[in-house]
């Protein structure tokens, strides 16, 4: 699936990040391609979250570069990264409990008119936002009990699905999912994994942080392993290589 011929959507080159005495990223490089799920693996403190936060504009790299479609990515803030086409779903989901799914989808980028008014003074086009949200949820086969109820009333899996679906709509280049199934039960995890497969089928580049080896083997086209801030391996996950992956993560491969 990783056609070497197609250029990567995302390229991270020689990323370095220090937090005081802690050297969180040591010369990390990776690439992400369209239509591919890349698993980012590593033990706690390996640097996965730091790397993802650098890509999505929360932290700035000390050295190294982040390229989107071959050009320097303007990821100096989360909002800028979002504008550049990178959507990140963190574990807290960043959903507004008091708003409906459609209101959550479009929060901060509402469809509104007339265009000549300052953004805050425009009138909401509720119908368009509800219609588009319903269409996206339908396309991604996300089933919600009610579209007009606040997301506070929805289950963990449904909320995760809403957050992931929102990310897909607006991600023109890359979707990053930080442990998307960590808080979910078996059945709800299944739904979210199906959703990730769907994302890939639609040609998105997806990076998933996860600790679940079953999911990596089942889902990921490629896995990058970090340990103590260093990239220690990259391979195509399979049942056969599962043990090798675990060894890389814990640092026992010799």
């Amino acid at each position: 699936m990783t056609a070497a011929a197609t250029p990567p959507v995302l390229t991270v080159r020689n990323a370095q990040k220090r937090f005081g005495a802690v050297h969180a990223l040591k010369n990390v490089s990776l690439e992400a391609y369209r239509g591919e799920v890349l698993a980012l693996l590593g033990d706690n403190g390996a640097g996965k979250s730091t790397l993802v936060k650098c890509i999505s504009g929360v932290h700035a790299l000390d050295e190294g570069e982040i390229l989107l479609d071959g050009e320097a990515a303007p990821v100096h803030s989360p909002a800028a990264a979002r504008r550049a086409g990178i959507e990140t779903v963190y574990q807290d989901l960043a959903l507004f409990d008091n708003l409906t799914p459609a209101e959550n989808f479009y929060c901060g980028r509402e469809i509104a008119w007339p265009r000549w008014l300052p953004r805050g003074l425009r009138f909401l086009d509720r119908r368009a936002m509800n219609r588009d949200t319903a269409a996206v949820l339908e396309r991604l086969r996300v089933k919600l009990p009610k579209l007009d109820a606040p997301v506070a009333l929805m289950s963990g899996g449904q909320r995760q699905a809403i957050a992931v679906a929102r990310a897909t709509v607006f991600a023109r280049k890359l979707v990053i999912l930080d442990e998307p199934t960590a808080a979910l039960g078996l059945r709800e995890s299944r739904k979210v994994l199906d959703l990730i497969v769907q994302l890939r089928a639609e040609g998105n580049a997806v990076i998933v942080i996860t600790h679940n080896m079953e999911q990596v083997v089942e889902l990921a086209d490629r896995a990058v392993v970090l340990r103590q801030g260093r990239k220690v391996g990259e391979l195509r996950p399979s049942r056969a290589s599962q043990q090798e992956l675990v060894s890389m993560i814990v640092g026992a491969e010799g």
């Binding site: 989360p78 909002a79 979002r82 504008r83 807290d92 960043a94 959903l95 507004f96 409990d97 008091n98 708003l99 209101e103 929060c107 901060g108 980028r109 509402e110 509104a112 953004r119 805050g120 003074l121 425009r122 009138f123 909401l124 009990p145 506070a152 009333l153 929805m154 289950s155 963990g156 899996g157 449904q158 039960g185 078996l186 059945r187 709800e188 995890s189 299944r190 739904k191 079953e214």
Partner: protein, 347 residues
Amino acid sequence: MANQSDVATAAPEGDRARGGGSAVSLALRLLGVGPLLILIALAVAISLLTPNFLKPANLSNILAQSAVIAVVAIGQHLVILTRGIDLSVGANLALATVMGGLMFRVTDSPTLVILAMLAAGTVVGAVNGLFYVFGRLPHPFIITLATLSICKGLALELSIGHTTMRGMPDAITFIGGASSFGFPNSFFVVFGVATIVLVLTKTMVWGRWIYAVGGDPESARELGIPVKGVLLSTYMISGLCAGIGAVVLSGRTGASSPLYGNLLELDTIAAVIIGGASFLGGRGNLGHALIGALMIGVIRNALNLMNVNVFFQMIAIGVIIVAAVEADVLRNYLEKRARTIQAAKTQ
């Protein structure tokens, strides 16, 4: 990935959850309309106890007496929607009436007097907002408590020892004291302000941002919503509403006073909360503020009609606030239940 035993045990659990689900959603719906039901029940009970209650003159009186609380509560509800609080509204209103009174000494123009009051209110609101947002204060409690004290002191200082300054332009006493079509004119003021705020909050992007900031300020910032501007605007509008309240109150009394608006912060916060908005931010609407204001007006009026003393009125309103906040807590608990039920339903 779901294995056989998992499916088997989940089925009855799902059934049980479904039964509980309708009960929980019914309870949530009841909590939603609760304040309105309580207001109606209150009105029925009081009208049985005191026949005078339902007379048109008395109802009109209730509207007039609730108008100040209602209009200031409309501003307060915006602030509370963003998880904030505006303790300065009462003192702000007092200062605004004094500014109006001072303006009336130099000019007869009702426009200028009204403008003085509205400007005073808005400036105080802006000070609250600017210090809260750009002074990086941890909570608006502190700055609005400070401006409460400052406004009160300024109002007393500027009125140079007069507890009341008599006289207001006719246009203002007309707004605050007269009636049209059988309704007090102040009712129309409340109606007008409410309509504007309703349009702002429910149909415009700005209103959506208020709910987003109240729901999750951190996420709102990450999504590129101008959180600081939104917060500042709510405090300015709350101040403006205090200024409008000042026009109505000084119109009703035909005077201005540094002693006006005493404990108005309490009444307006109480109105918003007992009306059903959440103290935790992001939940609530204009209807809640108005129902709450009317409820306080009705309770005061009824206790007056029944000759219950004013101290008991304060106790009654305090008790109702506690009940309303508990209802808010209960709602949060029920929503958590609803989530669990949803999870169980997911097949």
